[in-house]
Symmetry: C2
Subunit: 268 residues, 2 copies
């Protein structure tokens, strides 16, 4: 991969990387299409597909994560991706270096998934150095991840611009996610409660967060199999919690719907 | 710096980085000359000069570290360095990302200088991303540092080859170091005990490390102002301590000579 990338660099091609864990859906398609728009026809679009074990804190989640490589390749072909980079393994046995962040990652997902963001940053740093892109595209659905990656790029001085694609949703509002295929039976219906909670918060501008969070938690947990991990209203830039819900703040939330943990977020 | 580096990349120039903390001496000159040899006349030699605060565990050491920028520039001119990169500051106020290593850095300097290698790796990662070199040159005098940087390059997949220049010594054996100018009065003479201890260990192939270490510690601490931090015999590749001193193993040692902490090492 890196030899190829060094060749592109020498040829002066613009390169854009879309890092994924595969199980591609229309959300990924829109990220790929954003990538292509950025570098035009002459540029190189790389989609990496790698289910990164070190970012999974829950071994069951890693086991259950959907893997659909041949379908993924078909989708990449349809989207005119130039290179699918799907390594078997990106770690040596005696791997000992990690990228860590100690501010943005101490909250929200960072609390509920210890080690998750260290795993994400470490693998993204590797991918950046292997693919040597000028741009890299991430999905807004993982809002905190985007903030963490931007911070990594800023603090480590990577010569890479981060592009963010909007969350795509099913017609009933459920945010597209590879994990959605795991929502069997009526869990799929219950899962729409997350986007409905976001809608509800949009009708509550001016409320104090502490009350609104409590109300939304009750609203979500009315679903028989829903259990909230967190609901938080934050400043969009620094992810600091805010006391009063304003236009321009963002709601971030995570909940288990049966055995499937989902996250979602929205701008108010 | 990065804009310049992206220009070189586009022009297809080969770039080599010699990261330093300034206070350049003949040891640095030899690293610069190694760098020039590697990329020839057409390549670009960058010397970075930055006293990286985050790698100093001892604030006094940071305060006392010699700073001689105008002399350094003169030396770089003499050595036909293309660019001296001497930033005032490489850290933002709310910097929160670090590169960490949890194997090679848990020993030796890592024990005696907590946080040192995290600081080194973090700044070197920044410099790599700012200068985008094909090669980077380090001095063997900081033997553990070389191992740690190699590990970082390997694990993070940096597209950079690490070159190592041998330790240069004064005629009396003292390893060249920017800190040597701090050896006032008869401390300068006492400091030669480190290289003499290395010589002594070369006459002791086959000894058990535990005994030889004890003997060398006594030998060094015969100097009135010498206090050993550590003496260790290690495997050259993984820095693991070895039980019997062999040809091909390496002695690493650190000691304070009065207020000045010095390190040295040698192949047996």
């Amino acid at each position: 991969m890196q030899r190829q990338a060094l060749g592109w660099r020498q040829a002066g091609s613009r390169v854009v990387l879309v890092p994924t864990m595969g199980a591609l859906h229309d959300g990924h398609r829109s990220l790929i299409s954003l990538a292509r728009k950025k570098v035009k026809k002459d540029g190189v679009v790389v989609v990496s597909i790698y289910v990164n074990p070190v970012q999974f804190n829950d071994p069951q989640d890693l086991d259950n994560y959907p893997r659909t490589l041949s379908l993924d390749k078909k989708i990449c072909r349809e989207e005119s991706v130039d290179i699918v980079f799907a390594p078997n393994n990106l770690y040596k046995k005696d791997e000992s270096v990690e990228v860590k962040e100690d501010n943005l990652t101490t909250r929200l997902e960072g609390v509920h998934r210890p080690g998750h963001f260290t795993g994400v940053m470490t693998v993204v740093a590797k991918l950046f150095n292997l693919v040597l892109p000028d741009f890299s595209v991430f999905g807004e659905k993982d809002f905190q991840q985007v903030a963490v990656i931007r911070r990594m790029v800023r603090d480590m001085n990577y010569p890479i611009s981060i592009l963010v694609g909007p969350t795509l949703r099913e017609v009933d509002g459920l945010a597209m996610s590879s994990r959605n295929v795991l929502l069997t039976g009526d869990l799929r219906g219950q899962a729409t409660v997350l986007s409905r909670a976001i809608e509800l918060s949009r009708q509550s501008i001016g409320s104090r967060s502490v009350y609104l969070k409590r109300r939304l938690r009750r609203f979500i947990e009315k679903q028989p199999d829903a259990q909230v991990d967190y609901i938080e209203f934050v400043d969009t830039i620094n992810l600091n919690p805010i006391k009063t819900v304003n236009k321009g703040s963002r709601i971030l939330l995570a909940a288990k719907i049966g055995p499937v943990r989902l996250i979602d977020n929205g701008l108010l």
